[in-house]
């Protein structure tokens, strides 16, 4: 069963050492930390991380973010961190999930999944439903961002459709409207560089029938990408 779910974005700048001397977005970092802390407060027996990635697949639970892939100050050793530690490097979004759990001090078991941008909504929903049936009290950490084409400084060229698309997603998350999340159009999401789509739909599948309540902790686009931080808690039986 799912005890609680958290939705966080996965910009690499969440990793403090990647933003240089300036913390850049401490409020976003704090919102993510609060969401993950909330996730862990129900003392789950395991945490499942669901993140967009190159394939729909499970990854080793001890996998971590390869921070060096994004640069940062050179490590004392010239060897990649993964080679030193023997720990699997996760794709970036899943890696940020693992990083957020580490930052929150979580040391329990982890199940880590990436979901492909090619995974259709039905497949995402099915995966979510399967992840919910674990026989364990499981918390769900979902990584995903809205459109990256929201303004003139956005990573992608401005697309006038982005605002309405993101507003609909934000509303669906705030209202815990799982059907609306499942209805997000994969093609439009891809056009708008909204990486969260498959992960949102896994979330909807996992929370199906639980009548969750949602709290949005952060919703803004300081760099032209919609960052959404939310907590979703199933209704008590």
């Amino acid at each position: 069963m799912i005890t609680a779910a958290a939705l966080c974005p996965w910009p690499p700048l969440l990793v403090r050492e990647l933003t240089g001397a300036d913390p850049v977005l401490p409020e976003l970092r704090n919102a993510c930390a609060a969401a993950v802390t909330g996730l862990l407060s129900a003392a789950p027996e395991a945490v499942t991380v669901v993140a967009p990635g190159p394939v729909t697949a499970a990854w080793p639970g001890d996998g971590r973010l390869d921070v060096a892939a994004f640069g940062g100050l050179p490590a004392p050793s010239s060897a990649p961190a993964s080679a030193v530690s023997g720990i699997c490097s996760l794709p970036p979004a899943a890696g940020i999930g693992a990083y957020l759990l580490d930052q929150a001090g979580y040391q329990g078991p982890r199940v880590i999944w990436t979901v492909s941008q090619d995974e259709p909504p039905a497949g995402c929903r099915k995966l979510g439903a399967e992840l919910a049936v674990t026989g364990q009290r499981t918390a769900l950490l979902v990584l995903g961002d809205g459109s990256a084409r929201r303004g003139p400084k956005a990573p992608g060229a401005f697309d006038p459709r982005a605002a309405a698309f993101d507003a609909a997603v934000q509303h669906a998350v705030a209202a815990a409207d799982l059907d609306a999340l499942l209805a997000v159009d994969p093609a439009l999401a891809r056009d708008l560089m909204a990486t969260g789509r498959p992960a949102w739909q896994v979330l909807a599948g996992a929370l199906g029938g639980t009548e969750p309540a949602a709290t949005v902790r952060y919703a803004d686009d300081p760099f032209g990408v919609l960052y959404l931080v939310a907590s979703l808690v199933p209704a008590p039986h």
């Binding site: 910009p11 690499p12 700048l13 933003t19 240089g20 001397a21 300036d22 994004f70 100050l73 032209g224």
Partner: protein, 286 residues
Amino acid sequence: MLHLGARTYPPEQRLIMAIVNRTPDSFYDKGATWDEAAAMDRVHEVVAAGADILDIGGVAAAPGAPVDVAEEIRRTVPFVATVRAAYPDLVISVDTWRHEVARAACQAGADLLNDTWGGQDPELPGVAAAFRAGLVCAHAGQQAPRTRPFRVAYDDVLADVLERTLGQAARAVAAGVDPARILIDAAHDFGKNTWQSLEVTRRLGEMTSTGWPVLVSLSNKDFIGETLDRPPGGRLTGTLATTAICAWLGARVFRVHQIQETRDVLRMVSAIKGEQPPARTVRGLA
């Protein structure tokens, strides 16, 4: 660790020494801070721009009207005292080769003796030791103070630089100067033609690898002017390029006229070396 005044600097920290001339005839500023009020304005300006050290000099390097000990003291020492009163923690260096001037300057609060003429006065290290001041051990070849190099030849210019600067450092330590307060300086242009200053720059790593902190004094000098065919006012780009290379090769202290520009260059080098993070990184990470 480098110690200057009451401060301690880790090896990766690069320091800016701002030139403040109390002369009517220095080659670059041509007496701009000969007036005491103008000199104090310059101090406020360079401190605000981030200078770590002031280098106060009372005698232009080039040949010119004689400046005796009393006149050099008159030009520099009261000013050292004024600056010390205004900035109790600022590291103050005095550019002199004379131990009498050095003693008066240390009494007025100087922390560092910049012996650019390379050990002409054997009593200078004793003054540094007595006041727990630092000492810059520079290479001027066999050149006398206030002369220009005349047909200077070396079998190996850097070998001579090392022999003389390390020799002075050893004598300073023997005289009781704190080794953590000693720097070495190849003294570009001093006792060197342009080819020799360029070679010293190219091989600066041989100086930094000695372990002594290396000071470089490059600012708008003739070797840059001759390389680029530019008058003193047109040498900033060449100065900054040379600064970047010296910083990359491990120089620690940069004696300069332009503080802000030098600071930006040193910041870039520190970031490229991975010794200091950029100010703010968002590009590609949002």
